[in-house]
Symmetry: C2
Subunit: 104 residues, 2 copies
């Protein structure tokens, strides 16, 4: 079964599955999920996020760093502020998919 040749099925590269887990790990923290969800609607700067979600500025900044590093959000400078937005429509899809699973 888990055969690499003629079989109808094969495990992806070890590394691929590892990367996949790393991706999900990002979504596996409620602070990050909240941030991502807040960005569903509109661009937001760090303080907006912190206030909206009742989080400290540093906590948000640290998490945004992780989200940025994983290309889930992107930030553009706007004066003193940095406006963050979702980097990708997959983010939305993945979260929606998860929500669907939960609502059952």
């Amino acid at each position: 079964m888990i055969d690499k040749n003629a079989e109808p099925f094969a495990l992806p590269e070890e590394e691929t599955l590892y990367d996949l887990a790393e991706l999900f790990k990002i979504f596996g923290d409620s602070t990050r999920v909240k941030i991502l969800y807040a960005l569903f609607e509109t661009e937001l700067c760090v303080n907006d996020i912190a206030e909206t979600l009742n989080l400290s500025q540093t906590a948000v900044s640290h998490q945004l760093r992780i989200l940025r590093a994983n290309k889930l959000v992107s930030g553009r400078k706007d004066g003193k502020n940095v406006r963050y937005s979702l980097a990708d429509d997959h983010v939305r899809t993945i979260i929606d998919m998860g929500l669907e699973h939960i609502e059952e």
Copy 2:
């Protein structure tokens, strides 16, 4: 969409987003992802999984417990063995969605 009334947008319940993160946390471990992926094709018992993925029996058993508790896999007894399979088609969808995101 996530909206209950007239507003164009609203955050889901705090708890919902928390549960969502909990769900993704399950997928956020390469051992568990490997196990789930191995079950894409067919039912497998604990030892099969352990051998296929080069993992210890206990490690697999512990992870299966978590996957079971979260209703991502289900096991049925078959003599001395317990045959595990994916509990839900969402599992497949979520993983595929993640893979899509990665392959870019």
